[in-house]
Assembly symmetry: C3
Homo-oligomer: 667 residues x 3
């Protein structure tokens, strides 16, 4: 992706409107500073009204119209919503749930990712589009399908079962290896023929956990295969046009680490519920993930809403200024484009109460004014384009471990990865410490601090990589129930956490998850007392030092938080969930130990500070989420790209205010 | 219906008992003053034990027995529970859920309303009954089927799918019109063949909303078609015998406005949960609906319970006197008959713990004494027969708008019509203001005040009708999210509420639904402060005056309640949900503006007052729901039909007491 | 069962481990005092890897190895988890839910109990095992299948439907009798052909209650038939080897009273949640049931956990000492064996986080130390073997009444048997009064006190038996909603509780169940006031005396608790649920009336006292569940089997301490 300015625009669905509206659209887009639209995402039935009969005339007209108005096109392959005729001809393409319920035509994403007919039609329409528009000057990006895995994460039909078996044959090559990996000796589940293996459909009790884990891997790979086959078709015709598909944040169903490596540019749909007072933390975490997935390259915020969505139980409006704050947050965290679903709010259909850039009421509205203001402000950020965000802290995040941790039949089935990630992310966010998300098998040497929340499943190579990182001088903070199983979800014997036992300098004898009403407390070496909750590891020190000990229950006095010097580095271990103050204390210890510096010290609450840098310049982004004017101590000097104001010593921000300060290097 | 006395009786299921009990039943019925029974509602398997083999002998005997005891018969077509042999011969007649689950024989109502075999058998048994009893002197009414739409509101089988497509062809005539109406361009759902259209079975996400709305219309029409075909058969043989079926109050699945227009007399089953302290409001609202459905003609309370039912989680008894109160409430609100499910409490089966007129314990019981007392009291009400209830207030109620409002994918999916109807009905009830329910396309000129709670969907003709009503001097109170869509559920563009924008003199720019924990308040022009909840319209006045303004949130100071003079009338608009006191204040304003007078002023709390009138006389019904003796100010003069007591200045009532005062005209 | 010492051991699944581990297992078992293992419970696929191809070599080796180490074998028929090839060959063997959902291979218990192919395979593998090991010296017991009815309690497939009809033909011989019993006249459900009768699959409303009750009987009988056919095969080959299967406590799905009479020895799996502070009451109740099911003969605790399980939402650890307490509780209540699931904690599969005797971490662990200590302590209990537990109090418990009571469509559908059983059991437990569970048709003359909590369904013979018991001098405490229906679930007319009306000396006119927020209180003849909840009977005394009367509601002043002299005995009746203090008061009255003496008076709270006796000696078991040292008044004299300490006047126990005192007869 190489755009001369910040991308600005949205999904454009002109097929919902008459042609006279198209002209108005183009004019209004210009007025709003739109320079890119995602076109035709759900237009398959219009482009191919009968099998093999194509109608591109209307799209030709729109491509030309947009181009004439200086608007580029992120052209969609419309494969997220197959035409009704395809369902009529191939009813077995409909997805089926684990209970055997068929999901019918009438909404969207009504296809099984393993249906061969679907694949044939999907690659054909992609090829037709590529051939048709390969030389059209408006075409600058391909938007493949839409939100893979949304609604229908998996299909359990017979085609899917066969595809699963094919995938398993590839992974295991023999049934002996599969039987070993799945531990089928337990409950006498041994398979003697490949044909005997079902998907994890409804069964009497807990299905085999490794079967479930492989099913998650398979399903994720299936969506990626859908993308890959279209990408191949598109690249064959238009090798120079970047290809993306829109992610959905921390979407559990697809391993985005693997998927992102197949994309030219990472893009994401982000719909924080801004009626939640901590929405910006969740949104920031998602931005950091997207930047990390693309190896810190700029990414695109492909969809957000100008104000309310339609699919929550209650769909709050975004208060004035909040859409702008969220947009700049994304840019501050590495985005080079801001787009919306959708350009013009629908008049009919399931999402007519989803806000658009151009609302039902029209131009005389707060929403339209905000859209125009942002669109006309963004060109000022041209210098920031392609710059990067630096971080010396990483949180380890591995989809496979997430899948395995969230399976049933655990010591505590209320342990879920997402809240634990957030428990570590939030205090860092509040300290203005920028975080990357890193896969445990990647090179971690760029980081001063690495945090591993509940990294339950680790491969041998991940374990070696993490040990290596600490041994060579890194600081690690690992939380309980990490390193418990291997990639087959077999217990790593030898004392939990076996692959890290030497590094963390301790052994965990028992897991003691709490009942719903139970609680406990810890006392630190500097005599602070904090509540803790949910879980206690019963820990025996081997080489580590205790930083805090449990105060209650049968293991009272035993270590709760420890630190161990390992090689040139330090490994902190936390065998419980410290509650708020305790978590703050813990993060303070590890940041001090790792010499982590926030973007800015002493920022007032409710303010977010971030920095982007290219070889030559740096920009400090200051965002005020509070309803008060704030003054931020500033030991630099610079000029606000948005207003031209010069700041030194302090930065002043209005409520919901934003400053993007090009830092003066002489300082 | 032309009955010489108040109807009194119940469902009679003699086939559950041996013949010796029948004789006892007849004697006891006489003792209790029973003059009508609904006979044979579930007797199909007994009447037609094998396909085409009929056994009427037992029914002949019962018809004669009842007639000999002076008891008339409301003879049922037994089509609510088809015989087991029919299921054996035509298993595809069983209903199927949206998830594809078949619902089997073993309870009742196990038929798909679109099954052709079922229809053939149903009309045949109806014809046989009509032929057999057309001249029997006991026969005075037909009770077709039982509680259409109960349990199984809809069927998604393949027969139903075909019937749906047939219905759609009739409605739209072409696929182009259907595609337009359904807005299939959204999410690329265009249909190219009729065969492609499924019912709204389980699908990946929100099904097309217009598809859902048409499905609701179709399903409602299907039940009506079941009724119509039987009615035609019965009328062909016994044109003079009135035909009814029993409604279920505010039953969402069937458009009772449409259905009632096909009936000779409206009848209803009403089972308020009297452990709810406001049961009489819910029950009163249902009575008012029934009277309104029959165009203010007398209706029949076809089923109620003497005390507990069996199908709630916890089935409270009715306290002494409460069954009598509920019965007189129905009469006060226009009923000319009081009946029960069922005559004799069952000994076996699913409803043996449902109370009956004659309980398990027999005659030495409170329940039986209450049944006899009421039955022997009702003949005193003969003068009231066929008199009417007058109302100058109406609440607009349209099943189509209800269906559309309650669909998913709305600004707030917790907005449901029923609680909103109740929010406006309850303060009127407490003020003893009698209310009709009116369809928005009917002539409203008889009303001084019309209330439109959340009238989300309006046809062009409904919009014109409402505008016309106000323009010609009516007073309207309209609440938020009214006039939003047309009959296709397409947004009416032009600024919400577009078809009423001029009439209400304002435009709504944004909907701001609240999160679960959010609240707000309003301040009125007379400086009162009230809490409000759930939702705020962001309103710009055009011609209206603000009566109250919001105090909090980003639209603080903008109007919350307004009034606009339009033509000769006044249109009030309320852009939120005022909490209790605020709603009282609002109702007071609009009643004052519309010069609405309650039946009686200054009645103490817990007392309900109503009036029935014929050309010559009027009767004041006074019901005391409280556990205290009450004195009600009374500026008339009259004589209690029940006790013969004369009242003037005050009416005295014991706890649970009732007076029915024939008003002295000279006053 | 005739074992020379207390049984100690667990489920042993060596097929999950390599052979080198087997040697270590045998050595460790010896170290822990293990003398019995349940072997091969899930080994079908390993024993019969292809249809008809058997591999016993590995099992031969294990039988020999165990025998060589002095460990006996409770050999399993592996039929709880059929091999995958069987599902491939006979997919119709998979169970199907009431909604028609097939439950697939991949966990365990994936078989329909009515599948003829399954039966053939299951009896063949059982026969093969019996033939192979009939003379092996290690074989001492047969463990048939595993936890019948777990996960999949019932199957609704077509085979099951046919089997149900076959069962019904046997029970009723004619459709007329079935139609009468089921009360099919209600809702017109009459059956004219056997083929018309479905299982109670999903249906529009409440299925016929007697159909549901017969379905429960049929399903229970089906599991018993599975057991019987294997038992027959085993007994034919090894008539001298006792046969058992493991029960699951108060498991509703199977009538254990009937089932236990087919077993040689009763065994049970017990997994109390020890994070519940009253776990020992629930566990004690289960022990008492098991003893009662075996007619007071010793039973085996076949499975418990050393510490946590894996299948709860949160799986708490057992605190130190708690596993030992639970083990001695079982012995005190009649067990002669203590076993665990499972010997070695799994490394893979669905239950790898279920604790084992030998944990993941190995020998240097609290769990292993506790396992060894208990195993090495148990031989001291040899004198206690085969002794019995005496009780002069019984609670009536009938699975058929449980099924009927818990059906829907009741006065209060929140009335469930289990909490009511517990409400009467707990105060007795706390008073150290040992309780048997007795079927209402068994001879009750051995008991001084019989309690009948909500004995809703009674056969004529049960009713006669209970009346006879009281008439002959017994004391009965009966709670509301008893004696309401017969075995067809038809109301017993004649005034509730009709078959006991004379005995209890009263008639119940109405049931008045409370709404969720309602409450009431009672006042006793000795002027105590207690809250009561959930339900009131409206009672008219006939011969009984009131012991307490209701204080509120329309029946205020009417009796709530009564006592009636009937023949030589006394019948107490309680028409509500007295809350805690009131229940204590009630239990005190009936115990006093029946001259019930606890095992020991004045024991401090948190202590459980029980006694076992053979012809010659008695042993007092004292268990301290509290975290405090306790002193228990002791008016005997004796020697602790565990420590050799002598006690008189007082027994001293440490926290979680246990003493087993052989009582000195001279006292």
């Amino acid at each position: 992706m190489n755009f001369p300015h910040m991308i600005y625009g949205g999904d454009y669905n002109p097929d919902q409107w008459t042609e006279d509206i198209w002209q108005e659209d183009a004019r209004l887009m210009q007025e709003a500073g739109v320079n890119l639209v995602s076109l035709g995402i759900f237009s398959w039935a219009k482009l191919e009204p009968q099998p093999g009969v194509f109608d591109f005339a209307w799209l030709d007209q729109l491509m030309d119209l947009l181009h004439a108005h200086g608007i580029s096109v992120n052209l969609a392959t419309p494969t997220a919503s197959p035409p009704a005729w395809m369902v009529r001809l191939h009813p077995e393409m409909l997805p089926v749930t684990a209970e055997g319920v068929t999901l019918w035509h009438g909404s969207r994403r009504h296809y099984c990712p393993h249906n061969p007919d679907y694949h044939q039609y999907a690659t054909r329409i992609a090829a037709k589009l590529a051939e048709r528009y390969k030389e059209h000057p408006a075409l600058v990006m391909w938007h493949v399908d839409n939100e893979y895995g949304c609604h229908v994460g998996e299909c359990f039909c017979d085609n899917s079962a066969a595809a699963f078996r094919g995938w398993l044959k590839q992974r295991y090559t023999s049934l002996d290896k599969l039987n070993f990996a799945w531990g089928t000796a337990f409950w006498g589940q041994q398979y003697g023929e490949w044909e005997e293996i079902p998907p994890p459909r409804s069964s009497p009790s807990f299905p085999n956990p490794t079967q479930q884990l492989d099913w998650a891997r398979f399903t994720s790979d299936s969506w990626l295969a859908c993308f890959d086959e279209q990408k191949a078709v598109l690249k064959a015709v238009t090798p120079q046009i970047p290809v993306t598909t829109n992610f959905m944040g921390f979407h559990k169903g697809i391993d985005y680490v693997k998927f992102a490596s197949h994309e030219d540019v990472v893009s994401n749909d982000n719909y924080p519920d801004t009626s939640d007072s901590e929405w910006m933390i969740q949104a920031g975490m998602t931005c950091d993930l997207m930047r990390s997935l693309g190896n810190r390259r700029p990414w695109i915020l492909m969809e957000q809403s100008t104000t309310h969505v339609n699919w929550r139980q209650r769909n709050a409006t975004k208060l004035p200024g909040v859409m702008r704050l969220g947009s700049y947050q994304a840019i501050a965290r590495g985005a080079d484009g801001i787009m919306f679903f959708q350009w013009r709010q629908s008049k009919a259909g399931a999402e007519k109460f989803h806000s658009g850039m151009y609302p039902h009421i029209g131009a005389d509205s707060r929403v339209w004014r905000e859209v125009k203001e942002l669109g006309n402000e963004l060109p000022k950020l041209a210098p920031v384009l392609s710059s990067q965000v630096q971080s010396d802290t990483a949180i380890l995040m591995d989809w496979e471990s997430w899948w395995a941790l969230d399976l049933d039949s655990k010591p505590s089935n209320d342990l879920r990865l997402m809240p634990q990630l957030m428990a570590y992310y939030a205090p860092l966010f509040k300290r203005n410490i920028t975080v990357d998300f890193a896969h445990p098998e990647t090179d971690l040497s760029r980081y001063k601090l690495v945090i591993a929340p509940n990294l339950y499943l680790v491969t041998d190579s991940a374990a070696a990589n993490i040990n290596h990182y600490v041994e060579n001088g890194g600081t690690l903070l690992m939380s309980f129930f990490s390193g418990i199983v291997d990639e087959n979800e077999h217990i790593r014997l030898g004392g939990y956490p076996a692959p890290f036992r030497e590094m963390v300098g301790l052994v965990v004898e028992e897991f003691a998850p709490y009942s719903e009403t139970q609680s406990n407390s810890i006392c630190t070496v500097d005599d602070k007392q904090f509540k803790c909750g949910f879980w206690s590891d019963v820990i025996h020190l081997e080489n580590a030092k205790a930083l805090a000990a449990f105060e209650g229950d049968y293991y009272a006095g035993s270590p709760a938080i420890t630190c161990n010097q390992f090689g040139k580095g330090n490994a902190f271990y936390v065998g419980t969930i410290p509650e708020s103050d305790g978590m703050e204390w813990l993060i303070e210890q590890v940041c001090k130990s790792a010499s982590i510096q926030p973007v800015s010290m002493n920022a007032p609450a409710g303010v977010e500070l971030l920095q982007r840098t290219n070889g030559k310049s740096s920009w400090l982004f200051a965002l005020n989420y509070s309803a008060e004017k704030v003054t931020i101590p500033f030991d630099g000097r610079g000029r606000d790209l948005l207003t031209g104001a010069n700041f030194n010593e302090s930065i002043y921000l209005d409520p919901t205010g934003v400053a993007i300060i090009q830092l003066d290097d002489s300082n």
